[in-house]
Structure formats: C-alpha cells, structure tokens
C-alpha cells in the first residue's frame, strides 16, 4: 500500500497552461487556458482516494471530491459532472474563483509533503467539458410542490438557493436589480478571470431547470418584501450582497478620476466599458494608476487598468505583504503582469488640476507596530515621510459595506450594528417569518463559495419550511 502511494506521488501536480504575462496584460481573454482531457486524467490519478477525505471537509458545499476525481481518472467526465452537480450548481465558476488553497486543496493530504491535487483545476475542467459538449443534461428534479419562492439578488448565494430549490420541486423566481443576472460574478469579477459567457451559461442551465428571472427589479424600490408575499410567494431569500462602496474619506476624493472599485469594475465588466465606443459606457483610461487596497478586488482593478493600456499601475497598501488579503495566486498574477506594489504606504490626500481631475496623491510611509484588534500588526505613520505619487486614475478598493436600500424598507428584518441582516447561521432564517438571508448581506464581504454555502443552508431550511413548517 505504501509502495503504491509513493509511486502515485511521483506524478507532479499538472500546471494549467496560461497566456504569457506580457501578452495577457494587454488583453481581456481568460488567463488560464484549462486542462486537456489527458492532463486532467493525469492529475486525477494523483488523488490518493482517502477513506476519510479531508478535502471534503474543507469544501463549504461538501462536494464529493474523491468521487468526481475518480470518475475523471477513469475518463468518465459526464459522470464526474453529475457528481459535482449533486452539490454544486455553479462548478465552472467555483473552479475558477474559489480560494482552493485555504479550502479543499488546503486540506489535501498530498499537500503535506508535496503539492495538493489540483482540485479546482479538475472541477473547472469537468464543468467546461460538459458545457462544451453541450449535452444539455440536467440533474433530476423532484415533483412540483406548488410552492413559490422569491430569490432577491442573482449572485452566487441566490443562484445556489435557486438551483437547490428548483431541484426540490419548488417554483423559483429571481429578482435582480441590474439588467443582467449574475451579481458580482457579472459586475465585479473581470472577464479575464471569469468569462461572462460562462456565467451566462450557468444561469441558462438554471433557467432550463425552470428558473424565472426578473431583471430590473429593485426590491425595496420597485417592489417590497411584503408585496412579494402579497403576490403569492411562500418564502423569500435575500442575497443582495454588500453593495455599498467604502471610501477613504480623505481630501480630494471626489475629484474626477477617482472611482470606487465597484464603479470601476461595473463600468468595465457589466457595462463592457473596455469595449467603448462599441459599447456606450465610457471607462477612464489612466496613465498612472493607483489602486488603494490589496484584496482580490484591488488585484482585479489593477489588472483591468493594465489591460486598458496604463503605463504604470500601483497597488498602494498601508500594511505589509503578509497582511495583503488577496489570494496568493492573484497577487502572483498581478506581479507577473507588471503591477507594482507600494506597501506600507498610506494615501492622505488627492491633488487635482483646475478642471477637478486628480493628478497626484500624497502618501505617508508606514511601519508596523503592535497587533490591533484584527490580530494584524497596526500600521503606524512615519513622521515626515510624506511623498507625492503621480496618479491620473485612482481606484478605491478598501471593501464594501451593507447596502441599506432593501433593509431600510422592511423594519421587521433586523440588522446588526453594521447594517448586515441578522440570520441564524444554521438555517439562514431572519427575524421576519418566511424570510431567509445569506451571503455578503449577512457576513459582510466574503467569497463566492461562502455565499454559496450560505445559500445551500438556507435552501435546506426553506425546503423544510415549505414542506413541514417554520
């Protein structure tokens, strides 16, 4: 047995081919190009098929990982697809944007001595393969229950709730404020990281399962939660995300050329501003771009600016490299593409010209002091270290908070002191009967897969409510 395992470990982790950094930094095509069937099978054969698979415990939606990998190793990709679908209705998306290194792959036993199995790459391969085969095959659906559910928001948690409840036989309608479904998958994550036709195809699969989508419906304005009940819905799920941009609140922040990451990325992704003037929404092109913040959204913004032809793109972050919240892979991709990192640097004001356009940014150098309440070492300004950076485009990517548009319209839905909806983590139930919530509007800004996990929990609870009671 030990001999067999040792032999398996000899196969190195199969890298995924990517566009070369100097090419991709100027185009919007997807960076990694996917596995071939042969590479996928080779990679799948690395899996030890553990009896107690740790990877599954690391997955927020508990995909049967060894199960689908074994099917890939056997070349039965259709079966692998069904296995993943059993737990995850958005595999092509998760295979691309999940932080596998801290989830499934982080738990993989091979990773203790060697590199873990490339679970994310395999998930992506299986999803892409079945989509490209266009089998149109759908998972089996339970008999209709005649119950109606409204899902508010069409991001990852809403799509998961919808998918699960459709399979359980409920009638699901999704309400989306924007003109296109997908939420952050469409407005936030750039094309080069998650092609929009993939999101559209995953949404279309749900529509084939019976999902109805009403775009242009701003719940809290166009219709209220109570009116949804009056319209005959039996349950409502709220997954509206954390869509309120944070700004730095420093002088000059309203100058032209300073964007919230939400605005910059929405113009680029949802409105396809990178294709202006073919598309009508303009997107500022900076020469010297500063992105403030160092999370995944900051990396997405920086890499977008680079693709639009910037001469210099700088990530400006007040802490050090260790504290950067972005995934290691995203930081690595950004660095390869020539993004510069100004660490321990804190912007203190923006400087504009006569037309009110930003031209420079004043920064302070920082050093790390004692740990703060978040456990990270607190950045402390170094006296007299002020310096100026040229900057004609600045993107503020320091996070988002709770958007009050829906929550203010319904006082029965109680909020915590940060404005997020209070929901039972075991069920997703809010303080209002018949209403569930999950994703960023409950937890604050987090990941796609955590939002999906919350959706899964809520879907089970909604199903219980519709078949048993509150």
């Amino acid at each position: 047995m030990t001999g067999k395992a040792a032999k398996k470990e000899k196969i190195p982790r199969q890298p995924m081919p990517e566009q070369a950094a100097d090419v991709r930094r100027r185009n919007f095509k997807e960076v990694p190009m996917g596995y071939s069937p042969e590479t996928a099978i080779t990679e799948a054969k690395r899996c030890l098929q553990c009896k107690k698979p740790a990877c599954v415990t690391g997955c927020p939606v508990q995909i049967d990982i060894p199960g689908f990998i074994q099917q890939v190793a056997a070349g039965d990709f259709a079966a692998a697809s069904q296995t993943i679908w059993g737990k995850n209705t958005l595999p092509a998306i998760c295979g691309r944007v999940c932080p596998q290194e801290i989830q499934c792959e982080g738990e993989c036993i091979l990773g203790k001595k060697d590199e873990p199995v490339a679970i994310g790459n395999l998930e992506r391969f299986v999803a892409d393969f079945s989509r490209e085969q266009d089998t149109g095959e759908l998972p089996e659906k339970a008999a209709s229950t005649g119950k109606k559910v409204a899902v508010v928001g069409s991001g990852p948690s809403g799509l998961t709730v919808a998918g699960d409840l459709l399979l359980k036989g409920h009638d699901v309608t999704m309400l989306e404020a924007f003109h296109k479904p997908g939420g952050v998958l469409v407005y936030g994550i750039p094309e080069f990281r998650l092609p929009k036709d993939i999101v559209a195809s995953e949404v279309a699969a749900l529509e084939r399962l019976g999902l109805r989508i009403e775009c242009n419906s701003v719940v809290g304005r166009t219709v209220s939660v109570d009116e949804l009940f009056e319209e005959g819905y039996d349950a409502v799920y709220i997954g509206v995300g954390a869509g309120l941009p944070k700004f730095l609140n420093i002088s000059g922040e309203n100058l032209i050329g300073i964007y919230s990451a939400n605005e910059y990325l929405t113009r680029a992704n949802l409105m396809k501003g990178y294709l202006f003037p073919e598309y009508d929404t303009p997107l500022a092109k900076g020469k010297n771009v500063a992105v403030l913040g160092a999370g995944n959204v900051a990396m997405d913004s920086a890499r977008t600016a680079m693709r639009l032809g910037a001469e210099q793109v700088r990530i400006v972050y007040r802490r050090s490299r260790e504290e950067m919240p972005a995934r290691a892979a995203e930081i690595h991709h950004a660095e390869e593409e020539g993004i510069e990192f100004y660490l321990l640097t804190n912007p203190i004001r923006f400087i504009g010209d006569d037309e009110g356009r930003v031209v420079q940014m004043e920064c302070l150098q920082m050093e790390l002091g004692e740990p703060d309440e978040s456990g990270r070492r607190r950045p402390i300004p170094i006296e007299g270290s002020e310096f100026l950076l040229d900057c004609d485009l600045a993107v503020v990517a320091v996070g988002a908070s709770a958007n009050p548009l829906l929550t203010q319209s319904d006082p029965e839905i109680q909020l915590n002191r940060w404005g997020y909806i209070i929901a039972d983590p075991k069920t997703g139930k809010t303080t209002k009967k018949g209403v569930w919530a999950g994703g960023d509007i409950v937890t604050g800004q987090a990941t796609v897969i955590l939002a999906m996990g919350a959706g899964r929990v809520a879907a089970d609870s909604i199903h219980d409510y519709l078949t048993i009671g509150w």
Partner: protein, 277 residues
Amino acid sequence: MFTIVKKESMADDTVILNEIEAPRIAAKARPGQFVILKANETGERIPLTISDLDAARGTITVIYMVVGKSTALFKTLEEGDAYQDVIGPLGKPTDIEKLGKVVCVGGGTGVAVLFPITRGFKEAGNEVVSIIGARNKDLLILEDKMRAASDTLHVCTDDGSYGHKGFVTEVLKEVLDSQKVDLVVAIGPVPMMKFVSKLTYEYNVKTLVSLNPIMIDGTGMCGGCRVSVGGETRFACVDGPEFDGHKVDYDGLMQRLNAYAKEEKAAYDEYCRLRGI
C-alpha cells in the same frame, strides 16, 4: 419589454417626450423619483426623472434633451419600439406637504422634472407660484401643464422672445421681495440651481434642488453620483436626488458632470458621422 406608447417632439425637436409602458414602476413612483433607461444591449444606463405617470394605463413619461450619443439613440426609438431596460422608481420621493406658499422654478428640461412636484404641492393645498425659463420661446416646454398646476405662472426667456426677458432669478427676486415664501423648488441646469440657491439663501428661504449627476446603478452601489452636500459626501441616487440647495457644492458637481466630456463628444461625433446627422 418597455414599449413606447407615445412619442412627442418638443422644443424645436431638441427635446423628446416618451410615454413608456412600465406598470410596476407606474404603480409605485411618486413625484421626484427617477428611472434608469437603457436602449439596447450595448447601451448606456441613463437616469431620467419621471415627468408624469398614469397608474391606470401603467405608463410613465420621461422627457430628455438630445445631448449625446445615448440620447440620440433614444431618439431613434419610435412609438411601438421598446427600451430594453427601465429600472425604478429610484431615489427618494419629494417630501410634499402643506407649507403655505411654494415657488417652483424650472429651467430647460428641468421643467419636466419640476412638473409632477409642482402638481404635488398644488394638490397638497399649497399656493404655488411657478417660474419657468428657456433660452428662447421655441425651447420652452410644458408651459400649459405648468400653468394648470400653478396658481400663478411666470415665463422667462433669455432673448426676450416670450415673457420676461432675462433669467428666472430676476423674477424670483421680485416674488421674494413682495411675498412671504415657505419653500422654493429649483430644478434645471446646475448654474441655474446654484444662482437660485444663492438668492434664496440671502432671503433665508428653504430651497430644494434635484440633481442628476453621472450614475451607473442607481441603487447606491457604485458611488459615481457622489456629491458634496454640507461638506459631506452623499449619493444622489439613494440619498437624493433632492438636496438642500443651500448646501450643495455646485462647482464640484459641474466638474464631475464633465468627467467624460471628451469621450462623450468623440462618441457622439462618430455616431453623427456614421448616420450623416
């Protein structure tokens, strides 16, 4: 689909009225609120304040001036055609109550936004004095509707081709000098709102203005419509569109409205060139 059931040309064909089928919005909207319209797949999201609505017919009316590529594209839509997307009602409604005497001041296409608010104050039992202006007689819009919604209507044109020759602020000053006014509502070009607010500040009369900055989503998500009000950053889409006229940073607003002047002009020129306009 958001079908156009009526299209009218106004102000020498520079301003277009569209009555659009949007039953959900028509049932909900109140004076002062706006919608976002998008003509087609590649189109821009354009915010326009609702000028009128008919809940029974399930329609809303918007009025826009043709100023660039997106509005030129809107203009190609005829009766029976449809906007791909209409989102709303957005923004906070006007706080309409019985105050006594309300003066409604409108300039250019701002009169389209002012009309439902004027009617609202009149219906709430206020004495309404309205002052509307345009560059010349041909560019004046909604005179009859404004007259019907007001107790008194004053008309101004910059060139004197109709009514008082001069700016709305001149007539407003006369009204403020002669009568006790409880509220002024001013909607029009930013410089007009700025000078009205400056004047009413001297008279210590509360003033509401309605702002229309560049925005994307209209739900507070992007912050593109941020404007400084009393030194604080506010989002016009969710905190407004109406604000205390005495506190708005009009110069900052004007600058931000010009953010894409170059791109917009290039896109419009190209659009006109391709179509021989």
